[in-house]
Symmetry: C2
Subunit: 161 residues, 2 copies
């Protein structure tokens, strides 16, 4: 079995001081994520939604439909400025609502509108299909293994140092 990264690495062999394994893992992850992004974008377009919109609604739902911009930004690995931009778009589309917090008036609470909840539900189906399709190549056991390894990596990256 061969993928495009194999071909890429083969072209490289011997030409540079180069850890093929590291490069392989990294490049494959990047391409998978990029593929996923593009496939989901195409699928979600049918409901008239963009990936970043779903991503945001989804995080909001995880917070029971309400959270502050800074929390969302941190979780989505987004700059504060980028978050504001997203929320602007979502608000204009009527999917979220901004409410100035009463106890700490620096804060803004972001809430899902009914329409936002609806759209999220629709998108869930579509997205789940696309993601499952990608993972379908692996047995249940392999999925667990993969998940575990990725978790080690992410933990390492997230823990201070």
């Amino acid at each position: 079995m061969e993928d495009s990264v194999d071909r890429h690495l083969a072209r490289w062999r011997g030409k540079a001081p180069y850890d093929e394994l590291v490069e392989g893992v990294v490049t494959r992850m990047q391409m998978l994520v990029k593929h996923l992004h593009q496939t989901k974008a195409a699928a979600l377009a049918e409901v008239g939604m963009q990936d970043f919109e779903f991503e945001t609604l989804h995080r909001l739902m995880a917070h029971s439909g309400g959270a502050t911009p800074s929390v969302l930004a941190a979780e989505l690995l987004l700059s504060p400025a980028g978050m504001t931009g997203r929320l602007d778009t979502l608000e204009r589309s009527g999917l979220i609502r901004r409410v100035r917090s009463t106890d700490d008036r620096r804060r803004v609470d972001v809430e899902l509108t009914d329409r936002g909840r609806e759209l999220w539900t629709e998108a869930m189906q579509i997205r789940a299909e696309v993601e499952s399709e990608m993972i379908s190549a692996l047995s249940l056991e392999d999925r667990v293994t993969l998940d575990g390894l990725l978790k080690q990596l992410l933990h390492n990256v997230e823990s201070p140092h």
Copy 2:
């Protein structure tokens, strides 16, 4: 051991029809790639280079320093328009050179300049460090396993249907 995705999934448990394993794998990959992107961007900035520049130079090197825009675009999962933009930037910075092909004059050959080769070499060090740092959490054996699993996924996604 716990990562941010664990916490995210925990918040979700029972609230939605939801394959935790699929979501876990997908989300972790996305976050790792995003992290990598940000870390590399920060590291490469020291040489005054951006990630997309390196990515392009690197592909070019893999083609022994010369390739056409369309080939590069395909390999980098980029639109033709996006590729043109990248090449414009790289050309302005003096890292690549465009040469109209003589036999088929619709074609353009993209070549690395000496400066491009130099900068690529510098960047290779930096990038390798960042990537290795990320992978360092895994034993050699685990790396092989991870790489194999990712390869299965990518192969599945790339093979027609």
